[in-house]
Assembly symmetry: C2
Homo-oligomer: 148 residues x 2
DNA sequence: ATTTTATTGTTAGTATACTAACGAGACTTC
DNA sequence: GAAGTCTCGTTAGTATACTAACAATAAAAT
């Protein structure tokens, strides 16, 4: 307790930024983003792809629900859907059963884009985990899901 | 090969968003961000904290080098340093040895803030990994560093 | 010594990602 | 059926995070 080490740690010298989860997570997110835009070009951003893929998976749904399914709050999903519509990938129609709702759906172009980019998306997932051994990749994904 | 499953996968139906690394990473990043602002309040953002902690760790350095050490590009680190200065945590002086450079350093207030928030920062790192077993936490951090 | 190259910091533009507040519609409850 | 409550989408504001282009300075190459 009276050692130098104790004095040291009492002065918070043991906080090393490069050891903190948050800092590491941010960097890996950045790396993934770089891989993503390398592979996808300027066609779609990661969040736009997420919304596109989720729409392809489930079909039609409301804007806010799409946000929930893709982990975006209402303000963020609005911008993403706006840009998908602007670029011809999606379209909205007002819901006859609920005056507040828009029904968001893919256009034919959006579906074509999805089909075309699925292999690219897979390759990005692979590239992101390239530095790990096969066993480690499985374990990493398991831990990610546990942390979600 | 001629089974329904093969037909299915040929039409890219096996792409499930919730299984992709990038999507999972984004969500965990979000979770960490929420924990961070819960614990830190509005005082500092994660990137501001990263810059503050790195400055506390290494002392004085140029703005761009600080960016490299905290994984931010030149445009991002500029905004972060601007806000640290605005809030009284840091200050800059022009470098007499290099007319292009600013020497960024913590103010006394910045150092006090750092010392005060170190325990909070530790608690955020702990809370982020709360869902994992002790062994899994170590393994997760190891894999993160390998992926960086 | 001059030219080229590299680095430093700035600016403008776009896209997440959050908070907070808001109006409109739908649902509950009394 | 009127009041309160919830949900839906919008808007404004702030903070990352990137690209691209730019001017100023410094270092290297010729």
């Amino acid at each position: 307790m009276s050692s130098q080490r104790a004095t040291h740690s009492a002065r918070s010298a043991t906080y090393v930024l490069d050891e903190q989860v948050g800092f590491l997570l941010r960097q890996i997110n950045q790396r993934h983003g770089a891989l993503f835009s390398d592979a996808m070009g300027n066609e779609l951003t990661p969040t736009q792809w997420a919304a596109l893929a989720k729409l392809a998976e489930i079909g039609v749904c409301s804007q806010n629900q799409l946000g929930r399914l893709t982990a975006m709050d209402v303000a963020t999903i609005k911008g993403v859907v706006d840009r998908l519509i602007r670029d011809g990938h999606a379209e909205t129609h007002s819901d006859p059963e609920d005056g507040r709702r828009f029904r968001v759906a893919l256009t034919d172009q959006g579906r074509e884009t999805f089909e075309r980019l699925v292999p690219v998306a897979f390759s990005i997932s692979v590239a992101t985990l390239e530095a790990l051994l096969p066993k480690e990749r499985v374990e990493f994904l398991r831990l990610l899901k546990k942390l979600r």
